[in-house]
């Protein structure tokens, strides 16, 4: 497996407060990697650094052998990285169709866009029913499916997901988890998943990094981490043995 994304000693701070203190991590082609940790651990900062929304202070970020740091957000989408932002961020007064089409903004191959649109609607049939409805009128779960679909419209090589389970009904969280697995498996899209729902994140990812206050503290195979005592205590909320 070739390395697709490479973080080397990345430091980032907002207003002189450290958000990332020398984070190194990597993601290989075809992998699903989870970043777990509590609020403020720096998970979202990693995604913001990748997408160019936040400028890093030192270190480097490479994607398919090219430097990402220093590029603008719009360039980075064109390189094949699509992001599903925290809080979904739908375009509330635009139709589902227009929202999806915005995902394909950097593409110009009409035929290819139409094919991707078909496959997204096939993956999320609910979106077909809501096709001309304003996105703001959709339920939280439907909006989450829509923004995942919107990101897929860019035909990304790497999909970034920021808290996809946040504010979603528990039953739909499973649906969304299943679609993430399916997207990774069927379309060969690599996935970087940021989640506070550590159990969900670990059960659908290959590897994971656990962060605390801007540093990676534990990394490893997700299946093993699910049973790691340190992870259980710190991230899985010390629940009853065997519930996993």
């Amino acid at each position: 497996m070739s390395e697709m994304l490479n973080f080397k000693n990345v430091e980032l701070f907002y207003d002189h407060v450290y958000a990332l203190k020398g984070v190194s991590m990597h993601l290989s082609q075809g992998e699903t990697v989870a970043l777990i940790g509590s609020n403020g651990a720096g998970k979202s900062s990693i995604l913001r650094a990748i997408t160019g929304l936040a400028k890093i202070k030192s270190g480097s970020i490479e994607f398919m052998g090219q430097r990402l740091d220093g590029r603008t957000a719009s360039d980075i989408v064109g390189m094949g990285i699509a992001m599903v932002p925290e809080g979904r961020r739908v375009f509330p007064f635009m139709s589902v169709r227009d929202n999806l089409m915005m995902g394909a903004f950097t593409r110009s191959d009409k035929k290819g866009i139409a094919d991707t649109l078909d496959s997204v609607l096939e993956r999320f049939p609910r979106l077909k029913e809501r096709y001309s409805q304003a996105a703001g009128t959709l339920s939280g779960g439907e909006q989450q499916m829509m923004v995942i679909g919107r990101a897929l419209m860019a035909k990304p090589k790497l999909l970034l997901l920021d808290e996809p389970s946040l504010g979603i009904a528990p039953k739909l969280v499973q649906d969304i988890a299943r679609s993430i697995v399916a997207i990774n498996r069927d379309e060969g899209v690599s996935v970087l998943l940021v989640e506070q729902n550590s159990r969900m994140a670990l059960s659908i990812s290959h590897r994971a990094y656990a962060l605390t206050t801007g540093s990676v503290v534990i990394e490893g195979n997700s299946k093993e981490l699910l049973h790691d005592d340190r992870i259980k205590a710190a991230y899985l909320g010390g629940e009853i043995e065997g519930a996993a």
Binding site: V77, F93, D98, F105
Partner: protein
Amino acid sequence: MEQILANGVYLGSQYAMIALGLTLIFALMNVLNFAHGQMYVLGGFVTYTFYGQLGLPFVVALLISCVTLAILGALIEKFLFAPVIKRSARDESTMLLAAGIAFLLDAIILLVFGEKQRGVPKIVNGVFNWDFRLIMPYDRILICVLAILSIVGFIAFMQYSKTGRALRALAQDRVAAQLMGVNVDRYSMIGFALGAMLAGLVGGLLVTITGINLGMGGPTSIKAFMMVMIGGAGVISGAIAGGIILGFLEAIGLAVLSQYGDITYLLIFISLMIFLAIRPQGLMGKPWG
């Protein structure tokens, strides 16, 4: 009655175009463009120069007005608004800048075109007369049709073109639009240029009816802000509704109230204050849809 309706549609269509430009700029950049009226006046003077003075065909002069204002709008955004927005998070900064640009444009117009009222030859002659129930000169009808076509064209552009969709996305969620790959700097500039172009287009259309003079800028800005407040800031449908409502109020006022003196706008302002006290977000207040 028919006369009032026709006048209302005529005024409303012009006003709606002015309000559309203003609301587009507001929705995209959160900038209150106090210089909108001056941009309108400049558009009128450009058409006056190329059609009235140099004798080019009206349509060509109108296009020159649009292009001039679009370029001016793009330059103003790139070299004035964009740097100020980058450096200052306070809304007052762009408001002061916009007010300053209004004075600057006033001064430039005064220097280049002088302070006199200017008119141009009629674009078509004759008057439509339906049994004296409805009297309207053909040139007004033509201008009204052109204005409506422009509005329809603008809405179609915003609704169905890729650029229009990106502008709407940018107005609704800046960060998400960036994540889709929209270059915020470039599209802010395009949006501002479009808004300025609309102002220039109305100026070029109306110079054939009312003529143009330096003093029309300020009052036009005020009317534009009223329309946007009536309809709700930042919404296409709101700008159109506001424009048509103000157009009709003015048409009705001129027909019904003129015997009591010039009180139409006094009453409009009073009603607007009461209306805004009850519904501060305007009729359709929500971000750009």
